[in-house]
């Protein structure tokens, strides 16, 4: 049976395959790095030593160790990874000729009368040095399929820069119902004077959706993390990384078909904050900041989904820009490396406890079963019951094939 919900976890900046799901304990130290490896609950599959909690969930995960593409820049790598399509030259954020993100595409196939947003993103937009990244949006599907950004209402923030634009919904849950209705009336009066325009139509849709959520839907209740058992909140950890995963569970449980979580600070800003772009101090950053939050929050998500009986209906998809270089640089960091990297899928009918493909002995290139972001997308779409070879038309009636890859045999 197809999955009903999807949670996309995006490791913004490019998570190191060596320090996560494809460690190379037998390589020379300048490649292997500082971390050792640990056994998981699946014999023969080993993770980085700093994923001890996730190692107990390996039986739920299909790790793909042979992904590759040719995009060495963040914008290009992220675009390829999140849309499944190679980026066009000079790609820019919010262009309507861009390919839609996985979240936008999955949201496109939901029941249009369900009364929930098609897709939600938390807690940050992806930026690089102040430039909004292309790829996270609805692209040629149209603005109504842009996943809506919501701020996670609590949790210690990732260090670094996390910008917001004016479009996201900063839901003020303490507003009472009468005040919201009055605001709506005021807004309608104001906008009538401004007149009609495409931009206003678009904004109006977001405002209306915000109002709908505030006026008592399940989504509103799900957004309010104060409604959650404090012990469950503690299980995810008092960090925005954990609380965002919890929010993803609550929102999908409330009927939102897809939620994308940005796991890391929103702006890479030269890799200075807590994101996966570890050009400097790769090991310190991963060990002390990134992996503990990632390990705890993802493990809590798996535990929580499983014990509620939701995991087999919820596809969890991990994405990232690319892997990191085999050779450790002079700043104890690893640089961008798209020639091979690892990602994972879990739940939603995916057979857990398996590794698909492999990288070579030093993690420099795919060895067995090389596969592309398109193949990975085709797998995720298939798990969601969406035929990856289907064609859709854009707002001008031009046909687009939603995916150009082939599903991997992970079911």
């Amino acid at each position: 049976m197809a999955a009903k919900r999807c949670i996309v976890i995006y490791c913004w900046g490019g998570i190191s395959h060596y320090e996560s799901w494809d460690p190379k304990p037998d390589s020379l130290s300048e490649i292997r790095g500082e971390f050792s490896t640990i056994e998981t609950n699946v014999p023969g599959i080993r993770f980085s030593e700093h994923l001890p909690k996730m190692a107990r969930h390996a039986n739920k995960m299909a790790i793909v160790r042979s992904l590759f593409h040719k995009q060495g820049g963040h914008q290009q790598g992220m675009y390829h990874s999140i849309t499944g399509h190679a980026p066009p030259p000079g790609v820019k954020a919010l262009k309507r000729t861009n390919s839609p993100s996985l979240a936008a595409l999955v949201g496109r196939f939901q029941d249009p009368n369900s009364g929930t947003p098609n897709a939600i993103r938390v807690p940050y937009n992806m930026y690089d040095n102040g430039t909004l990244m292309a790829g996270e949006y609805g692209g040629w599907l149209g603005s109504e399929y842009d996943p809506i950004l919501m701020k996670t209402p609590s949790g210690k923030a990732f260090r670094g820069v996390s910008r917001y634009t004016s479009r996201e919904l900063d839901l003020q849950l303490n507003l009472d119902r009468d005040r919201i209705i009055n605001r709506q009336q005021l807004q309608e009066l104001l906008e009538r004077k401004v007149g009609d325009s495409t931009e206003y139509d678009r904004l109006d849709r977001f405002r209306q959706m915000a109002a709908d959520m505030l006026l008592g839907s399940d989504v509103r209740e799900a957004y309010d993390l104060e409604n959650e058992d404090p012990r469950i909140r503690a299980m995810y950890g008092d960090h925005i990384g954990g609380q965002s995963m919890l929010l993803a569970r609550r929102l999908t449980e409330a009927g939102v078909p897809v939620v994308q979580v940005c796991a890391g600070a929103g702006d890479l800003a030269g890799g200075s904050g807590e994101n996966w772009d570890t050009h400097r101090d790769n090991f310190k950053k991963l060990k002390n900041q990134l992996l503990p939050v990632f390990d705890r929050s993802v493990s809590a998500l798996f535990t929580d989904l499983e014990m509620r009986g939701l995991l087999e209906e919820t596809l969890v998809v991990f994405l990232t820009d690319f892997g990191r270089t085999p050779k450790i640089n002079n700043n104890a960091g690893r640089d961008h490396y798209p020639a091979v990297y690892s990602m994972a899928l879990a739940g939603g009918g995916i057979k857990g406890g398996q590794v698909y493909g492999s990288s070579d002995a030093n993690g420099t290139k795919p060895k067995d079963n090389p596969c592309t972001p398109g193949d990975f997308h085709a797998t995720a779409l298939t798990a969601m019951g969406i035929n990856p070879s289907v064609e859709l038309t854009d707002q001008f009636g031009r046909p687009f094939q939603i995916c150009n890859g082939s599903p991997l045999p992970l079911f």
Binding site: D111, G160, R231, D238, E306, M307, R308, G309, E312, N331
Partner: protein, 274 residues
């Protein structure tokens, strides 16, 4: 809300569908049959609506999560022999409801999370050979009941979940630890005195402006170039992400240097004073 693919229902079905829809039910075709769900509606499911569901052909999934159903309502389900997945989580049912499920031989997935079902009710499922997934978190089912059903159904996976009482909840009244380290403010009016930043451990600096004027904080880059990060009003504080061996220059609003801090290896307070 009702979603249907045409051609799958007999002519007499629309009336049943209308009643189900009125009760907030959604009906859709899925692989192998029909899925009926009430968990995203207003969750007030009448016995009549459930009896109409039971009259539909080939229902493979029924979701009654968080609905108001009672033990007796489930009698309608006892004849749904095509059922493979049944969500009863977070309902008020108890052991008395489970007897209605014992004849559902195709049932693979049963969710009893958050119900009052106990080991007594579980015994009713010992001959449900098709059952592969059973969810019992926050029910009254014990490890003994789980052991017993698994003796009868060795392939059954029972998910008991975590004991929430073992999770430590942080006390919100305990304030965040104050930094134990303090950076030395080196007073200087000369920009060139501030050393170029070098790399190190990722830390936080809490700047506290104890002067009577707004100041600027300026990071001296790894290339020695100054970069303004922001302003701190008189009496205000700011928490700044930084690294060990980074230099932070403090200037007036017209860029006149007042002095600088060099970060240490741990989170630290940086008091800006005249």
């Amino acid at each position: 809300m009702l979603l249907l693919t045409s051609g799958l229902f007999a002519a007499e079905e629309p009336e049943n569908l209308a009643v189900i829809r009125q009760a907030g039910g959604r009906v859709r075709t899925v692989a192998g049959g029909i899925e009926v769900s009430f968990h995203l509606g207003d969750r007030q499911v009448s016995a009549d609506a459930l009896s109409r569901v039971a009259d539909l052909p080939n229902v493979v999934t029924l979701n009654l999560k968080r609905t108001n159903i009672n033990n007796n309502d489930l009698r309608h389900i006892s004849q749904m022999h095509s059922l493979k997945k049944l969500h009863l989580e977070l309902t008020k049912i108890d052991d008395r409801a489970i007897r209605y499920l014992s004849g559902l031989k195709k049932l693979q997935y049963l969710n009893l999370f958050g119900t009052s079902v106990s080991d007594v009710g579980l015994k009713e499922l010992h001959s449900n050979r098709g059952l592969t997934h059973l969810y019992v978190w926050q029910s009254k089912i014990t490890s003994e009941g789980i052991r017993e059903i698994q003796l009868h159904l060795p392939e059954l996976k029972v998910v008991a979940g975590v004991d929430l009482d073992t999770i430590q909840v942080p006390d919100p009244n305990v304030p965040e630890k104050k930094p134990t380290s303090m950076l030395k403010f080196v007073a200087s009016s000369n920009l060139s005195d501030a050393p170029q930043s070098r790399g190190g451990e990722n830390i936080e600096v809490i700047f506290a402006n104890k002067t009577e004027k707004t100041v600027k904080i300026v990071w001296i880059g790894y290339d020695g170039k100054p970069k303004v990060y922001g302003q701190i009003a008189a009496g205000a504080s700011r928490t700044q992400n930084s690294y060990e061996n980074n230099t932070w220059l403090i200037t007036t609003l017209d860029d006149k240097p007042l002095g600088y801090f060099v970060c240490g290896p741990v989170r630290a307070l940086a008091v800006i004073s005249d």
